[in-house]
Amino acid sequence: MRMTRRKFITAAGGAGVAATTGLLRLPGAATAAPATIRLLSHSSYNENSDKAVAKIGEAFAAQHNAAFAGEFIDQPEVAAKLTAEEQAQAGHDIVDLQDNLPTIHKNFLVPLDDVVAEIEKEFGAFYPVAKDSGYVDGHWLSLPWLGNAELAVYRSDYFAQAGEPIPSTWNDVLRAAPKLKKIGHPVGFAISQTEDSNAALYPLLWAFGAGVTDTTGRLAIDSPATNAALDFVRALAAQMDPAVYSWDDGGNNKDILSGHGSYTINAPSIYLRARREKMAFAAAIRQAQPPAGPRGRFFYVDIHGWGIMKFGSNIGLAKQLLRSMYSAESQKLFLTLGQGYDMPVLPRFDANPPYAADPQLRPELNYMPSAHLAAYPAGPDARAEKAYQTFIIPNMFARAAQGASNKDAIAFAVKALTDLGYSAK
């Protein structure tokens, strides 16, 4: 039988109506259904990290005659969703707030001082960097939950082939870079508008003694130390693949996992994925602490915490759920499923985490006490978060590495940071 256009449309329309039946019912009046605690989070590279949160949430809901709905979405999309919900004054009860985001969303967040006080009473104080993230204007506005380390990730076989030891300092990296490039395996990290670029370049800046601000929050980017850092990155970038200027967060993962790259700065996702997928060279992928500069070794960490929105309809239950996330059982479940991708933010649970047995994850031990957020050396600051989100530091380095003078690159950064409200006075 020949299928005419008319028959096709009729059949497709009929099937469509059948499929739609029931789906487009308008929401009715509220019924006596159990309360649903809705949680919004970034989706972790490690799917099991999300599953751990969902398990804790579901177990809590089951004990409290409630339901739990966890939504895990790509990190960059969280901001759009959060903004829309704040405009609508409706949405999730619990939201994932990264780094200094609590300073930006503070007017919409319920203080969690009571929850944190209970947790600290039982388990001791949070790491200072976790407090930098969650404690704003005298109140805990988010409950710190995890930290993601940024480590040096390298191919040990390529370094051996180039006759270079594993770098301990940025100068070691610069010395090895031409040799690694010569054998077809250049070093590389993103110098682009992506989070990985921030994660590599902020600690590099600090390692050279530079910073966006001084300890009091005054603009201090225009300094001899920044000039030195720019000179260094210009020299190192010349040994990298030019694609680093367009990398997204997956760029360095792909570079190393393809067998092309030899060295980068990243969270443990590269190492863990190579191991999980049993890649031929998985054993040669190693991790170390990030390199030191003239002023020492500096660690950058992404802190994720939980905030409760004022417009949420289950504030009391949400607080209880957050409290339940800090029990020995919950932490054990979370850190075990986290596989070393996620680090604890309470020293109590960092004493002997499940991933400590893996030599390649040991660089994460004692990482948190020395780690900083983008606002370092100043305290938590909404301007620092905006500078981080708008990639001012990567853009400054990208300009210098692609031909601009130090003076012009720094002038660009000063202008952009001043536009955000920073001042040298």
Binding site: F8, P27, S43, I73, A88, D249, G259, A267
Partner: protein, 280 residues
């Protein structure tokens, strides 16, 4: 000089070839990527257009068996069909009024519609989020069906106004002289003549609704209620790891309904686009 049919055909194909290559390249890339094994996807040393390690269906299997992709597809179809239908009806009435009825500020209204069409959806999603919340339709397909016409209707109105202007008024006026009412003239005279234009506008509207991302992301939270555009991106990018095979498989399958629709109505589409291009 008369050229041979073979030479004419050759000229036509050679002229069209660059456009065809340009148009088909994304589809070919998606297809090749979606059929490669993960290890090969990461191998940058080989020709990326070739599949050397054998074809794998694992990315499609993951998509259909382990993700909510079939539900996302269903949701996209429902939202795109219903919102396009509503937008076309609204836009047709508006376009008819702008093209045919003489009233004060008609030109101003026409310009206003055009300006609204130029507003980016990323500007509208914040006030619309409030509207969705007030209507208590957040996290339902209705939140998209109600808001999509906000950007579709001005666009379709703008297209249809231009098309209706190309239909001679005389036909309609003759019907009115013969005793037809305005609505009957619209239904019996204008609509049949405007069919290619309406179909073209519908196709463009459907494509807009099908590819919309920001509203689908912000207004829908439940995984099973997501549309394809939001679902694929949100669920197949995890941190700094992109599931390229499944992403490309999802993008390829998601593009098929639009391809099928355009193929079905190609004749109407072409005549709709070229209406008024040549004056007799």
């Amino acid at each position: 000089m008369v050229r041979s049919p073979a030479r004419r055909a050759l000229t036509a194909y050679l002229t069209a070839a660059p456009f065809v290559v340009f148009a088909l390249f994304p589809f070919a890339w998606m297809l090749v990527t979606s059929l490669k094994k993960n290890n090969e996807l990461y191998d940058l040393s080989q020709n990326p257009f070739l599949i050397r390690a054998g074809i794998t269906w694992e990315h499609y299997q993951y998509l259909f068996a382990q993700s909510a992709f079939p539900l996302w597809l269903r949701n996209s179809i429902i939202v795109a069909v219903v919102s396009t239908g509503a937008s076309v009806v609204l836009a047709l009435l508006a376009a008819y009024a702008l093209a045919r009825l003489r009233f004060r500020y008609a030109e101003g209204v026409s310009t206003f519609v055009f300006v609204i069409y130029l507003l980016p959806t990323t500007l509208l999603f914040l006030p619309l989020a409030r509207l969705v919340s007030e209507l208590h339709i957040a996290n339902t397909l209705w939140s998209l069906i109600v808001t999509y016409p906000a950007f579709m209707t001005p666009f379709i109105t703008w297209m249809l106004t231009a098309y209706l202007n190309s239909i001679p008024r005389d036909l309609e006026e003759s019907a009115l002289v013969d005793g037809c009412t305005r609505l009957a003239a619209l239904r019996r005279i204008v609509l049949p003549l405007a069919r290619p234009g309406i179909i073209t506008a519908t196709l463009f509207g459907f494509t807009l609704a099908w590819g919309e991302f920001i509203y689908a992301l912000t207004f829908i939270s439940t995984t099973t209620l997501k549309t394809v555009t939001a679902g694929v991106v949100v669920d197949l990018i995890r941190g700094d790891v992109f599931y390229w095979g499944s992403l490309m498989a999802g993008a390829l399958v998601a593009s098929l309904p639009v391809v099928i629709l355009f193929s079905l109505f190609l004749d109407h589409y072409v005549s709709g686009l070229t209406a008024g291009a040549v004056k007799g």
